[in-house]
């Protein structure tokens, strides 16, 4: 059968295969698809383009490209999660690589022909499907390889998604500068090059990923006999998981944490300049955004690893209590009060580390509650919270800012209101986390059925 090498049975690890080869495979995927966070580097070049008839795109039209990609990330993660559990990570990663690479190439044609619909289809829809498939594909495999450290392993991979922008941004800028200097059409040539490079990089992940053999466990490790009340020794199927209150509580937890983070991310550069007029300029504001992306990435690894020791519930309590207090205090650091740029930056980076930490810790929380059997599929459905937060967060921030601007009120006065709303959202997240209990016995999967999907390819 064509592409049979992608089947799960061909990706079962041989005896002696090191589990430390699996995180680089996952990172190759996440570092690639994390490029989506750097898509804004194409914004100004796209706005400067003119069609043959002289027409140009506006900011709103260009902004939709990113929104469509994130929407399709959530949709595809939710739709294909259950398929991924059956097909295995290698096939899912392969399709993710094709979709993500092809998305760039189709978008390049769209730019060359000045057809926005083609860019929406390419980077937005097809690339977005690649994002969703790629995001969830290594999660359950990592959890199976690292039953002793599920937070650390998934944190490592999801850290890559945060770090992808750090590679994708400068790569795109340097490629565009290079092609411009050679006289080639800069954006299409850059997009095609990036599509090919990312496809190849993701293929490294495809060929490196392995699933553990049935019954494999780390040397010398035994599953703990006495569990925390929240760590289930049973599995829950994806079809049942979303009917549980725990799934929806975790949905609220992810939604509130992400929405609050977007409150800073969405307006980071203008916010610091508005709060410190005359002392922070555009170049420093760009530096601030870079610092946020570093802590967004580092927080993913740090907090997810810490959660292996603190427990997931306690880790999210940290996010909601510490985060709530810090969001409340952040506006006080502005020029009109404490006037401290280092304090503002210090608080913002801690908040962004917890934003990233929220993303990276959720797969291990899901594994604790629902078992590892369908965790990728359940994670995929939970990511719809991210899609919704991606719409609601900017709506809150931009809605309040527009209100202040339209009513000729000082823009910097809008920030305390925005940040206090974010603090309020974290209180909602705190309550949701407080209500999380172990999943009821009626949702547990019959243990005889657990092995079946692993054997479907035989």
């Amino acid at each position: 059968m064509a592409l049979a090498f992608l089947d799960r049975e061909y990706s079962i690890a041989p005896e002696g295969y090191s589990r430390w080869l699996v995180p680089p495979a996952a990172l190759a995927i996440h570092l690639s698809i994390g490029q989506v966070y750097a898509f804004s580097v194409f914004k100004n070049p796209l706005l400067a383009l003119h069609a043959a008839n002289g027409s140009a795109w506006n900011l709103k039209e260009v902004g939709y490209i990113f929104s469509i990609a994130i929407a399709f990330l959530g949709i595809s993660a939710a739709l294909f999660g259950a398929w991924l559990e059956r097909a295995g990570p290698r096939r899912a990663m392969f399709y993710a690589a094709i979709c993500f690479g092809l998305g760039f190439v189709i978008s390049a044609a769209g730019v060359q022909l000045h057809q926005m619909a083609l860019i929406y289809l390419g980077y937005g829809v097809i690339g977005g499907i690649g994002l969703g498939l790629g995001y969830i594909s290594p999660v359950s495999t990592l959890i199976k390889w690292f039953p002793d450290r599920p937070g650390l392993s998934t944190g490592l991979a999801i850290m890559g998604f945060g770090g992808g922008a750090m590679i994708g941004g400068p790569l795109a800028n340097q490629l565009m500068a290079h092609f411009k200097s050679t006289g080639a059409p800069a954006i299409p040539a850059t997009m095609v090059t990036m599509g090919v490079l990312y496809f190849l990089f993701m293929m490294f992940g495809v060929f490196t990923i392995r699933v553990p053999r049935e019954g494999w466990k780390p040397a010398g490790w035994e599953a703990p006999v006495k569990h925390s009340a929240l760590i289930s020794s049973h599995n829950v199927a994806v079809s049942e998981a979303w009917k549980t209150p725990q799934f929806w509580l975790l949905w609220v937890i992810l939604f509130t944490n992400v929405t609050a983070g977007i409150g800073i991310l969405e307006q980071a550069a203008p916010m610091i300049q508005d709060l410190f007029p005359g002392s922070v300029g555009p170049a420093a504001a760009v530096g601030f955004v870079g610092l946020l992306s570093i802590f967004n990435m580092a927080g993913r690894f740090f907090w997810a690893s810490v959660s292996d020791f603190l427990g997931r519930k306690a880790t999210y309590f940290c996010f909601f209590v510490l985060g709530g207090v810090l969001y409340f205090l952040l506006p006080l650091t502005g020029a009109e009060k404490l006037n401290s740029v280092p304090l503002f930056v210090g608080i913002a980076v801690v908040l962004l580390s917890m934003y990233g930490g929220g993303f990276a810790t959720i797969p291990a929380y899901l594994k604790d509650l629902f078992g590892g059997y369908n965790v990728s599929a359940i994670h995929g459905r939970l990511l719809t919270a991210w899609s919704v937060a991606g719409i609601v967060g900017p709506l809150i921030v931009n809605g309040i800012l527009d209100h202040y601007v339209e009513n000729h009120m000082p823009k910097q006065d809008a920030y305390p209101r925005i940040l206090h709303i974010m603090a309020g959202l974290l209180v909602v997240g705190f309550v949701a986390n407080l209500l999380v209990r172990a999943v009821g016995e009626r949702y547990w999967l019959d243990e005889k059925s657990v092995a079946k999907p692993l054997e479907t390819s035989h």
Partner: protein, 43 residues
């Protein structure tokens, strides 16, 4: 046990493949990020 173990060189190479681009992106971003402390005033 005569099982074939993954070579440490192979593991190191796999990590290098992902860590080198990460380090490049990190240093680029950090260099720009430091502008907030060295280039604070508006221009």
């Amino acid at each position: 046990m005569d099982e074939k173990r993954s070579s440490p060189l192979k593991i190191a190479l796999a990590w290098a493949i992902v860590l080198i681009p990460m380090a490049w992106g990190f240093s680029y971003t950090l260099t720009n990020a430091l502008k907030i402390f060295t280039n604070g005033s508006p221009h």
